[in-house]
């Protein structure tokens, strides 16, 4: 379908012409073509690739650490009442603190280096994944667990075949939220202080009034966010094939 793309394309053309005629100054909004040339020249030097890779690594590491901890603890509290009693209330209390609000403390603890960014991302990702894993495990139907007991499934088979798949829809919702938070936190953290990464590239360009590079950075953030979202959709499609099938069959 071409129709939905007509308006954005027209806007781009108007924007480009507007910039060339002088309605829009380079300083407020650089023309699309200049963004493209900036992208090409930064690609040539390898600069763009390097910065994007650094940002992606940061995001991935923070997500894995925070998400892994959230998943693990969510399973533990979900599966065991004693662990829930010990941990859940404290975690629920911490959850109410917006993770970006503690940036001043994080800077005091970690300085402004790499670990501060990783900590912030991991902290932000932890809660949605923890909560959704916990709820997912608790929402698994008792009747299915009872069935598993009748068939004498061992702890691992019960977990692998009954509990984990039952909790999976909820866990994946957590992953989706977690990815959104990862990008948001990454942007904030890199913008506040950085000596590398996309955020560093844009802040650096701002000082030299290279607005086209600033805009390029924003576009890349958007693109990466979109890619991450597509990855989760793919994951959902794979892991929840039964769910999917059920829905399409029901609609048909």
């Amino acid at each position: 379908m071409i129709v939905p793309w007509l308006l954005p394309a027209a806007l781009l053309i108007v924007w480009q012409i507007g910039a060339e005629v002088g309605w829009i100054t380079m300083r407020t909004l650089p023309p699309p073509l200049s963004i493209l040339t900036a992208a090409i020249s930064l690609c040539r030097t390898g600069e763009l690739e390097r910065q994007v890779l650094i940002s992606c690594q940061r995001a991935a590491l923070g997500f894995l650490v925070g998400g892994g901890l959230g998943f693990g603890l969510g399973l533990l509290t979900g599966l065991s009442r004693p662990v829930e009693l010990v941990l859940d209330t404290s975690l629920q209390m911490l959850r109410n603190v917006p993770h970006l609000a503690i940036i001043p403390m994080v800077i005091l603890w970690f300085g402004i280096g790499e670990s501060a960014k990783l900590f912030l991302i991991a902290l932000g990702v932890f809660f949605p994944i923890y909560l959704n894993t916990f709820h997912g495990v608790r929402m698994v139907e008792t009747s299915l667990i009872e069935m598993g007991r009748i068939y004498r499934l061992g702890p691992w088979a019960m977990f692998r075949r009954v509990i984990l798949p039952g909790a999976m829809p909820s866990i994946l919702i957590g992953v989706r939220y977690g990815l959104g938070i990862t990008w948001l936190t990454l942007i904030v953290a890199e913008t506040i202080s950085s000596s590398s990464g996309i955020g560093y590239m844009t802040m650096n360009a701002r000082e030299f009034l290279e607005t086209n590079i600033v805009l390029l950075g924003i576009l890349i953030y958007a693109l990466l966010g979109k890619l991450a979202d597509m990855a989760t959709r793919w994951l959902e499609h794979r892991l929840l094939a039964w769910h999917h099938n059920f829905q399409t069959e029901a609609e048909a």
Binding site: G78, S80, R138, E146, R152, P155, R161, M168, W242, E249
Partner: protein, 268 residues
């Protein structure tokens, strides 16, 4: 939110759930593949409500026992006690003379809902316990219930009656010695019900396992069971042997007079 999964409390399947009764008396002979079941002074209550008063019951190996009674009369509770899903407040349940603790050995159960795992295909649901050669065995069990061609489907696309047949295949694939049926046909239409009844009867005759069928439908109990037990106010109100030839006809006067007798017992 309410279910306590208690995952860490699960017994490993190998761990012997049976304790031989020390100095136990003679164990009744049990031909072939059926569990000989004994309940001794078994009672159960929830909070202040007494659901089952201490009751004694012996079921011979290979028997088909029907349990009927009013809703809330404790029929499901009794099956759960026999299966080991619930522990009795007093008394003991014995499988082949051995005291039960934990989930009963060689026992499978069917419920009113099929309880298939929605995320596993039909074949994997039947072979839920896996084990060696499970695929071939599961296929065979599916063939026995006439659903061999649905092995690759998701449970969600099956009809209610087909799902129950898959659940039946799953219950039989491991060659149980005791089959517990908790109103498995309650949600089916009359026609499918009749077919399932004949199927269960045939598979029971071939398998030789002990069967306990809980049902609301007195006619169903009379059609299938060697023995019908009426549970009323937590006690056995009637325990009636039925030795009519099979297959039984609904219109047979002996069958209808038995139905009336049992219904009277339920309703008094």
């Amino acid at each position: 939110m309410q279910n306590d999964l208690g995952l860490f409390a699960f017994r490993p399947p190998e761990g012997g759930p049976l304790e031989r009764k020390s100095g136990g008396g003679p164990i009744a002979p049990h031909p072939g593949n059926g569990t000989h079941l004994t309940l001794r002074g078994v009672s159960k209550g929830f909070g202040d409500r007494i659901v089952l008063k201490p009751l004694d019951l012996t079921i011979e190996a290979g028997n088909f026992v029907g349990i009927v009674g009013r809703s809330g009369g404790g029929k499901s509770t009794m099956l759960r006690l026999v299966s080991g899903l619930t522990a009795p407040d007093t008394g003991t349940v014995l499988h082949n003379g051995a005291k039960l603790s934990g989930i009963a050995p060689r026992t499978t159960m069917m419920f009113q809902d099929a309880r298939l795992l929605p995320w596993q295909r039909v074949l994997s649901n039947v072979g839920i316990t896996r084990g060696s050669g499970w695929e071939e065995k599961s296929r065979e069990a599916l063939r026995a219930v006439g659903l061999e061609d649905r092995a690759k489907d998701w449970p969600a696309v099956l009809s209610c009656g087909q799902r129950q047949r898959v659940a039946l295949a799953r219950a039989l694939v491991a060659h149980p010695h005791l089959l517990l049926l908790d109103e498995p046909l309650g949600a089916l239409d009359a026609l499918t019900r009749g077919e399932m009844q004949r199927l269960i009867e045939r598979l029971w005759q071939e398998g030789g396992f002990t069967t306990i069928l809980v049902t609301h439908d007195v006619a169903e109990a009379v059609a299938l069971a060697d023995r019908v037990i009426v549970l009323r106010d937590g006690l056995i109100a009637l325990d009636r042997a039925i030795d009519l030839p099979r297959p039984r006809k609904r219109t047979d006067p002996e069958v209808t007079s038995l139905e009336t007798e049992i219904l009277d017992q339920i309703l008094t």
